[in-house]
Symmetry: D2
Subunit: 294 residues, 4 copies
Amino acid sequence: MSQRIGFAGLGLMGSRMARNLVKKGFETTVWNRTAARSAPLAAEGATVAATPRELAERSDVVVACVADPPAVERLVFADDGLIHAVKQGFRYLECSTVSPETTKRVQSALRAKGGDALEAPVTGSKNGADAGTLLFMTGGPRAVHDELMPVMMAMGTKAIYCGEMGQGSTMKLIGNHFISLMLEALAEGVVVGRKHGLPLETILEVVQASGFASPYFAFKGAAIGKRDWSEHFAIDLLVKDQTLMLETAAAARVPMPGLAAVREVFQSARAQGFGREDICAVVKTLERAAGESA
Amino acid sequence: MSQRIGFAGLGLMGSRMARNLVKKGFETTVWNRTAARSAPLAAEGATVAATPRELAERSDVVVACVADPPAVERLVFADDGLIHAVKQGFRYLECSTVSPETTKRVQSALRAKGGDALEAPVTGSKNGADAGTLLFMTGGPRAVHDELMPVMMAMGTKAIYCGEMGQGSTMKLIGNHFISLMLEALAEGVVVGRKHGLPLETILEVVQASGFASPYFAFKGAAIGKRDWSEHFAIDLLVKDQTLMLETAAAARVPMPGLAAVREVFQSARAQGFGREDICAVVKTLERAAGESA
Amino acid sequence: MSQRIGFAGLGLMGSRMARNLVKKGFETTVWNRTAARSAPLAAEGATVAATPRELAERSDVVVACVADPPAVERLVFADDGLIHAVKQGFRYLECSTVSPETTKRVQSALRAKGGDALEAPVTGSKNGADAGTLLFMTGGPRAVHDELMPVMMAMGTKAIYCGEMGQGSTMKLIGNHFISLMLEALAEGVVVGRKHGLPLETILEVVQASGFASPYFAFKGAAIGKRDWSEHFAIDLLVKDQTLMLETAAAARVPMPGLAAVREVFQSARAQGFGREDICAVVKTLERAAGESA
Amino acid sequence: MSQRIGFAGLGLMGSRMARNLVKKGFETTVWNRTAARSAPLAAEGATVAATPRELAERSDVVVACVADPPAVERLVFADDGLIHAVKQGFRYLECSTVSPETTKRVQSALRAKGGDALEAPVTGSKNGADAGTLLFMTGGPRAVHDELMPVMMAMGTKAIYCGEMGQGSTMKLIGNHFISLMLEALAEGVVVGRKHGLPLETILEVVQASGFASPYFAFKGAAIGKRDWSEHFAIDLLVKDQTLMLETAAAARVPMPGLAAVREVFQSARAQGFGREDICAVVKTLERAAGESA
């Protein structure tokens, strides 16, 4: 493990991903906007950088897993941003879910200084980040994908090359679009079923015995059954991604009537105070819309 | 196989289900509104009834698989309807996808004459009907469910008891609601992906490697890839079920904003002449909405 | 006023319309499903019929203003329905908002006995019914329209001939579709405006000074400002009409994505217990969706 | 008319507004990104500035009417932007429809140099711009509103003060949200009416005789009747505003399910090549969705 890794963004996903890098023996430096979150990683052997620039100085590869496009802007382009420390051969692995435009801008800036970037948003949620079983969907130069496979495989088990820079982000947004409609299907189905006396367990049993079964329905159905809204993937973040998907679609002039309707339901969930809860908490918003006290 | 079976409705699903009853050795009589469709079954050993009443006279159990609530009305209550031949112990197995109200009305009429009914709509599409691997979701008396298991297991491999009369139909409508949103997710995703240079194959590879994978995406994705719109489940029928679901939801005062949006897309597909094609043909409507010539 | 008039349906609209017939000197008989509602009209000079059949026996023209298609079925076709008293020259004026299919069925039955019908749904709400300033949109034979003008003009000030039987009902449903989207525009606008510090009064002032001004915004805006949800047009009835519109559109294979989205909002308002309140109470549902306690 | 006016943005609206300033005797300088559009104004007496900075140097008040937030950024903050020429007492009148965030940023920058701004988006479309009958909805300091009244009244007939900076823009976005749903109502109504044999003229006659009449329906209905898609307000611009409205709503956590559904229809119209046509051309997209060849 000769590469020195920097990790920026120690949230729900990032902290778990960084931990796996440390465990697998990479020399790892971490940075987080609120510094306190770095302490647990430091205790496990990571070095803590004070700024993104310092993070980049100490690393051959910086992995980023931050919240949204403005957070990437801050990480890369701020006065103490990592761009100022980029040297020939530097690599940036963008694991955040952001817009294709954002990843392209970062790549251009890095290339101008002899570095390069790969976008590699992930799926697998908190559990996959813990277990090191994430799936990466990458966009950028094929050679950079190959070069960074060892880094990705320290945090996950599969990386699918999706094409040029921007296509990894687009693929990730499409994936979250799938999640959005599947979760809406589950939530609407659960509420209408209950009103007609059909228990959640029966619905899940039938769905999982059918051709449209999915592990996702079992996973989220179980949480709804326990009314466990603890965060695997927060509603605030999913709405951010739904909005990026609609913008990306608008840029290509593709209407997405299904997603547009569903986003407003999740938007309502945020308005009702569920933004930091898991996305399955959207069922509470549908219950309220159906007149159930919540 | 001492029970004599009548089968009403020899469409895409019904003809295959009836064939399996004949193959498994049941003494089978068939009836179809347009008589010509009975000929192949007759050649394989089924008797042909001229009217639903005659069908019921020749049978201990009548299995129905017809298009919609009016077709059930005609089958059961017309002047030559099966209700006029119902005797003590007669059983009716409703495999059509209809509204809970319809199945309840039929059951009441049967009970008044000493018979009884089980609703048992199916999932598994054309291929499952062919192979005898359908899944039944049943509603009605538990004893009738148990009694009719041998008949169901001649056509399928599993029957899940969902509760009292009406809950099997509601479950089926919820299942088709899932299908509707999953197919919309796939279709919107495929169109926006292609506009951004992401091939269908990559989208499917990522989806199927993720936690929200489903055999359904592989099945329908492959058809879209081949632009094979041959009918497994026709758009006209799915829209009929979406409308029944929205009515059933309205009766319970449950808004279903996701399904309402999606139904209008499938409605548009009907308007554009795709009503008799497979439901995956909805992708053509989204392509047109996105300005692609079709 | 040589014609004897029967009036069926003494609800919010009907009671006011019947009162104007009495006031204008028509010999008027009334019938209502719950008989108690007839008493005030009787006190003003109307005769009370015990059944729709008796109503028709006592009248040359029966005017109907009932809730929905099943209520029309009951009025016309029940064992004591008016159809059994129809004679040569009998006229039926359908002022209820029902489906084109319903009015066509009634007309056929009347014609078979030498009568005829005109559909003439109204707009103008409670205040217009009171003041006798309703607008009728008629469908059916032009000659019957002309013949019944004096009856209509006792209750309103204008009748627009829309074409053959069914087109008056379709026009009425289109009108309520306009109302639905205009009210949704107002309600969404009011909620988002308030969250950004824009008072309702300012929004209304600007809207009413613009090219898209409408008396409707002033009328409903004032009620929202006073949080006065007393019924002019109940949410339950508007949802009934939205559903008829979507069915009528589906019959012609016309997708209505705007109306479909809006209906689910009104559906939610019913679920939350506002069904008997005025349609402007939909703003409360949007407030809840936006996280405001209600 | 002692104030020297600069006008930036000579598009469909701006060119007409600038012309009225010249006509009313203001000493007027103009600037447009593509310089050729300045020629007609120059012929009528306006001076042409080469850059926004020069425009500001030659003016006491700069009026802007440009396409979107990036165009405002370019006008104000570019290397040759007007901000570099701002002196004590300078006034900026923002007539573009942009986001509240944009107008607030510009105001801050101006105040830092001793100037100030008023946002004053307009309604009235091309005809109102021609005739000088626009309506302004203003946000910012009340004193600046009063100070700039003579300038606004050279281009319009009314200015409604909406509150602090940002509330004029929000009001404008709400106004365009009204327009969006009213136009969708009209377009869906026209298509479903025609399929049922109801001519546009009858629909308009009934609507205009009803309580929900609006001059807007007459204006846009007439254009649809003539299939005249020439631009008064382009679909591309309305979609831009719908998107800004949804962003502004999201910032306040207000779901707008009606607008979200409608935006996707207009998005589809852009995809089908109607982006530069008038917003009433959305009817063509609904015709296609309803299976009519277009």
